[in-house]
Amino acid sequence: MNTIDVKAHVRQAIDSSWDQFQRYHPHLANVIDRELLAEAAAQSLGDDPQFQDAMQRSSGLGIAASTLTDLIPQLVKRFLERLF
């Protein structure tokens, strides 16, 4: 799993909750650069000890790529919940 994939998952997670966010915070939603936000969130996620730990453990256990792909959105979602 490389940085580009993580960023794509972060962008996807932001996009999926954007409509709801826009409804309650219209002015803020209008000026927030989602691309920039996804970039920053992906960087923060990469630095997050929990995320790093999960990635290392999954790699150590030899988890298949498909399982890891399922795991990433969950980690991203949990991380964004702390962020938003």
Binding site: H25, L28, N30, I32, L36, L37, E39, A41, L83
Partner: protein, 137 residues
């Protein structure tokens, strides 16, 4: 003797050649100065852009708050978190731009230094070869 006959005409032609190289290097030096000015202007524009984005965020934060008739704790927390995340994203982008600009300036300074050294070396060569050129006239 044969060697001298071969070398002297060659050396006589080298001094003007060295001067041409110095002139060319001076042009490159001027080009680098223009590139530095251009990069400075771009850095200024990027700085202004980030400042503007920050001001827009502040205004949008206030506008959403003013537009609300009632406030719930969850809304306030979500609003604050989103605002903080957006500011963090702007800061990260600004830091990235600043690092790139500093790297550009360092590269330009290294190029300028290398050209100065080359001009210096060429000027020595030019001075050493000048007597041969003068005797040729």
């Amino acid at each position: 003797m044969k060697m001298a006959c071969t070398l002297i005409p060659l050396l006589c032609g080298c001094a003007p050649y060295a001067q041409v190289q110095i002139d060319l290097l001076r042009h490159v030096e001027q080009g680098l100065a223009h590139a530095r000015q251009s990069l400075d202007q771009k850095s200024q524009i990027i700085h202004s852009y980030h400042t503007l984005r920050r001001a827009q965020l502040d205004d949008a934060f206030d506008a959403d708050v003013r537009a609300r008739e009632s406030f719930h704790a969850e809304w306030i927390i979500e609003h604050r978190k989103a605002y903080a995340a957006a500011i963090d994203a702007i800061h990260r982008a600004r830091d990235g731009s600043e690092r790139a600009a500093e790297s550009d300036q360092r590269n330009l300074a290294a190029m300028r230094h290398a050209i100065e050294r080359l001009i210096w070396l060429q000027s020595i060569q030019s001075k050493l070869l000048a007597p041969f050129s003068e005797t040729n006239r």
